[in-house]
Each structure stands twice: as C-alpha cells, then as structure tokens.
C-alpha cells in the first residue's frame, strides 16, 4: 500500500497543562512514542488523556517548560495546521457543507494537490475504509459508523506523520463499536503510521495498543504493553481499571498469604502484617470442597455464556470473583475449594485508600 511505513517519532518533554482558571489538567509528563507505534492513552474521564492528545496535536499549548518534538524537531510553537497530523475527533468534525468526497479531499486541496490526483487518492481511501458508493452523499445522510469511516479516511488522506484519534468509537453503539474496533486495528497495522489513540475503554486499548499509557488524575499511572499492564499492574488503580481484579488485603508469613479460607503460597513476599495483592478472576480454579488451597461458599452465580462468574465468600476477607468454566455445576450455598497458582498472585504496593 502506498501509505505504508511512514510516520514520525514523537517525544513530549515535561508537558503539563494548567488552564486559565487554575485547574491542573495534566501534570508535567514525559513520553516517547516510536515511529510506527500505536500508543493508547487510557483512563477515566478527566484523567488528562485528551489534554495530552491536544498538546501533541497542537490544539493546546503546554505550560511553560513543556516541549513537543517530532523526529527530534521542536514543534511546541508550531500551530496544528503546520504539524502534518491527521486527527479524528470524537464528534468527527466532518464539514456539513461538503460531500463525503470533498471532505476526504479537503486536506489535499489545501496542499495544492492536482484535481486528478485528489480523485485517485479519494478513491483509494474510500475503498480502504469500505465506504464505496457514498462519495456524493451529504454528511447528514450518513450513519454514525459511516461518519466514523469518513473521518478516518479524511485524516489519513493527507499522509500525516502522526495519526491522532480522540475516542473515535465512543459515539457508536456497542455492537458496531466491536466490529469497527477490529476493522480499525487491521487498518492501523496496514498503514503503519505512528498513532496516538485516546480512549476510556480498556478493551479498545488492549486490542489496538502496542503500548498503553494508563492515566489517572492528570498523571501517568503506568506505561506498558497490554500484557504488562494486565498481568503486572503497578498499583491498585491500574489493576482495577484494566480487566476485573480481586484486591485482597491480608498478612504474609514467609511467602504465604494468610486468608480466612486457607494459606495461599505466593511467589514474592517478605513477612508483613498487611499486604495488598491482586488476583484475576480467571486465574482462580474451582475444585471439589476439601481439595484446593482455599475453601469458600458460593454467594452468587452469573451465567455469562462462555463462562460463569461466581462470587465466593469466606475464602478471603472480601468475597472473591471467580471465572469458572461454563460446565461446572455450582449452586448458591455450596462449599467449594479454590486453587490459585503462586505466580497468579500479584503483590501491589500498599497505598492509602481513597
């Protein structure tokens, strides 16, 4: 594909953002994004992820001292129109006064690309984003999913060095979101462009990101591959925000977690009076009562289809969520055994609760 393999490396250096009214949207953050990488900024609303994206785009200026570099070149004071970035907005920002084709071609027209070449490029992108046949439609005649595709086609038409996506799937309904997510993933891999993707949806972040930056209250909580942030969350917030997690607080004696339902060996663990650990529901195996390491009572059973979610009390200080195979027969009130591999228990730094 003609668009493959271009993109700039991005570095932001000590970029913070304080708004005019004094609210701090982003603590000074430093971040490197490699050429061709897809980086996801993930976090709940108000965590500063959109502000960081807008600083990279050139729609916001970082506070004094912050720097934005593309391929090592300082772009901090360069306005967005000269940064050669493609951007997809949450509301798409398609121009209602233009047709689909004119929207896609607008950036090329600005760059003085000849009419024939523009038409060829539009045709290429229309095919790439599966919107063939809609070229002459007005924007208000498109469905949400179609608008999303037009917005993406328009953003990549200019062969940007960096593609910036601000919650591009949030405005769509759930089924469409899932379908477009895999489509987007395929497209981003094919384009090979440096991509920064903002979302609050951890499933999107997992599927699309080469790396994920988990953000919280204007600060970076953790940076890592999807596997790293899932299996080795740095703190309780990351553990709970990404996937489901049982957070258990209990004393540790010589590498063994002391729980009401039994003694659970863990990998690392000096003796301490109060440790915080994370156990993912799918790492807990259900056994017959009396077998296994822990013992507990089934509090509730939710059949989800591909699996069932049990809530088991008495095993730990708090009820444990357990993902069990859908074939297991468990009834409320049953006493069952649970076994957990030592390496599935992740020690988290203890922190004051909030």
């Amino acid at each position: 594909m003609s668009t493959a393999g271009h993109g700039a490396a991005v570095r932001i250096e000590a970029c913070g953002k304080t708004f005019a009214d004094g609210t701090r949207a982003l603590d000074p953050a430093t971040l490197d994004i490699a050429r061709g990488e897809t980086l996801v900024l993930l976090g709940p609303s108000g965590c500063g992820k959109t502000t960081m994206l807008r600083i990279i785009a050139g729609l916001e200026l970082p506070d004094v001292g912050g720097k934005v570099l593309f391929d090592g070149k300082d772009m901090t004071s360069v306005p967005i129109e000269r940064r050669n970035v493609g951007m997809v907005f949450q509301s798409y920002a398609l121009f209602p006064n233009m047709t689909v084709a004119d929207n896609i071609a607008y950036g090329l027209k600005i760059r003085g690309v000849a009419r024939g070449e523009r038409a060829a490029r539009v045709a290429e992108l229309v095919a790439l984003t599966n919107i063939t046949g809609l070229e002459n439609r007005r924007i208000d005649q498109l469905s949400g999913g179609q608008r999303q595709r037009v917005a993406l086609a328009r953003a990549v038409a200019i062969r940007p060095g960096i593609l910036l996506l601000d919650e591009p799937l949030t405005a769509l309904d759930a089924a469409l979101r899932d379908r477009l997510r895999s489509e987007l993933n395929r497209l981003l891999r094919a384009l090979g462009i440096t991509t920064i993707y903002v979302t609050h949806d951890q499933a999107e972040a997992m599927e699309l990101g080469d790396r994920i930056v988990v953000m919280r209250k204007g600060a970076i909580a953790q940076i890592g591959t999807p596997r790293e942030v899932y299996f080795a969350p740095k703190d309780r917030f990351v553990a709970e925000f990404i996937g489901a997690a049982n957070i258990v607080e209990a004393p540790v004696e010589n590498g063994v977690l002391i729980l009401p339902g039994g003694r659970l060996p863990i990998e690392c663990g000096a003796t301490t009076a109060n440790a915080t650990v994370m156990i993912r529901p799918e790492t807990i195996r259900v056994t017959e009562a009396g077998e296994g390491i822990l013992s507990g009572i089934v509090d509730s059973v939710s059949f989800i289809g591909d699996r069932q979610r049990l809530v088991v009390s008495d095993a730990s200080s708090k009820p444990l969520n357990v993902d069990a195979p859908n074939t297991i027969q468990a009834r409320i009130g049953d006493r069952i055994g649970l076994s957990i591999a030592p390496d599935a228990v992740r020690l988290l730094p203890s922190e004051p609760r909030d």
């Binding site: 785009a57 129109e81 951007m87 509301s91 920002a93 121009f95 006064n97 607008y106 600005i110």
Partner: protein, 261 residues
C-alpha cells in the same frame, strides 16, 4: 359537536383579530390610490399620488437603499468575524462584549442619536453626509447580525469544525472561508435580511440624525404626513409596502428552509 363549536369560536376570534390588524393597512393602501379620500373610493382610482410621491421623494427611497445595503456591508464585514471571535474565545470577556453589542436594542434610538450628535456633531462634513446616518444604523442593527450568526455557531459546533479544518492544514483564513462562513450561512442570511429590513424602516435614530439633504424613506413619510395631502402620504406607504414585503417573505422562506433541514 362541542369541539366544533369551540373550533368555530376560536376561528372567528382569530379572524377578528387578524382583521383588526389588517384593515388599517388595507385602508391606507386604498387611500393611496383614491382620487379623493374624503369622498371615498367612488371618486375614482388613480396612480397620480404614487407618481407624485415618486417625483418628490425618489431621492429618499434611493438613499434608504444605499444606506440599507451599506449597513448590510458593514455588519457583514464586522459582524460575522466578530460573532466568530466571540464564539471561539468564549469566557466572561466575550459575554461582556456581546452584552455591549446588544445594548442598543434596549436604549431608545433617540438617546443613541443624541449621543452620536454630542460626540461627532461638530465634524461638519461628516455630520452633513449620509455616512452619519449609516453609523447610527450600524449601531442599531449590529446585534441582529451578531446574534443570529452566533445562534448558528452554537448549533453546529463550529469550534470543532474549525479544529478539524486546522488539522488538515488550513490556515485561519481558509478555515473562515471554506468551513466557517458556509456553515454559518443560514444565520448570515437571516441576519442580513433582518438588517436590511430594519435599516429601511428605521425612524427614531434617523429622524435625529438626518439633514434636509439626507432624508430616508421613513423620514420622507413623516414629512409627507405632516405637509401633504393624506392621499400622497398613503401612496408613500404603498411604495414602502411594495419594497418591504418581498424582503419579509424572503425572510420567512429562509426560516422555513432551515427548519426542514
């Protein structure tokens, strides 16, 4: 049966109210083409009064149009960018500026005229030219342009469209031309018709600001009411109607088209 009665009652009441409002206009128009109003329509129908008005007051009609379109040009050139700037900037300062622009709606035209005379009355050439009236009309009509354009900006999320165009490489001027103005067009058109209509009919301000050589249509109308036969003044009204009604109809059509979209 009962519903029918209620409906008929409401219908008759509506007709009566409409007649109450329309009859004076109809009488005035008919007076303008009657040979002798006091003898009534049986005295004959004539266009001589219309012709006479045209002879005496063609200049005022022309000047009214010159001022109306000059007012339109100024409110377009200053008002549309101002509306964009106020919308894009937002915040308290923008609110204050918007209030100040809107203020002339609440202040009597006479007071604005008096202030203009106090401030600029001593610049003789300016005072004597039609530009003096133009200034008054711009002050009076600007809020209508700014407000109707801002109303459109509020509904189409112009800020994000602007950012979208910027991300595609468009300079501020290109964005204004390609994206902002086309998407604000319904508001600009509505504002433009309002400005022209208001300027053509403006009396308060103009009455204070005019000189014997810079009379507009409504001033001429007052003049003819005061000093001419009733038939002449009525013929004048007729001419005014003929000019203003197409503008009002256009305004209505435009509003309808917006609702449909």
């Amino acid at each position: 049966m009962r519903d029918r009665l209620i409906f008929t009652g409401q219908f008759i009441f509506t007709l009566l109210v409409a007649a109450f409002l329309v009859v004076p206009a109809g009488l005035s128009i008919s007076a303008g083409v009657t040979v002798n109003y006091f003898r009534g329509i049986q005295s004959g129908v004539t266009l001589q009064w219309v012709a006479q008005v045209w002879e005496l007051y063609a200049g005022t009609i022309l000047l009214s149009f010159v001022i109306a379109f000059a007012t339109l040009a100024v409110t377009l050139l200053a008002g549309v960018p101002a509306a964009y700037a106020l919308h894009a900037r937002g915040g308290r300062l923008a609110r204050i500026v918007e209030e100040i622009i809107t203020l002339p709606l609440a202040i009597p035209g006479l007071a604005i005229a008096l202030a203009l005379l106090l401030a600029y009355g001593s610049f003789g050439d300016f005072r004597r030219s039609w530009l003096f009236i133009l200034v008054g009309h711009v002050i009076f009509t600007m809020p209508f342009m700014v407000r109707s354009v801002m109303a459109v900006f509020a509904t189409v999320d112009i800020k994000t469209l602007d950012e979208g165009a910027a991300s595609l490489g468009a300079s501020p001027w290109r964005r204004f031309r390609d994206v902002i103005v086309p998407n604000a067009l319904p508001g600009i058109l509505a504002g433009a018709l309002m400005v022209v209509t208001l300027s053509l009919g403006e009396f308060n301000l103009t009455w204070m600001l005019h000189t014997p050589l810079t009379k507009t249509l409504p001033i001429g109308l007052a003049d003819s009411y005061a000093s001419m036969r009733l038939e002449v003044a009525s013929a004048y009204t007729l001419i005014f109607f003929v000019m203003i009604i197409p503008l009002l109809v256009a305004m209505q059509l435009l509003a309808d088209r917006d609702h449909k979209r």
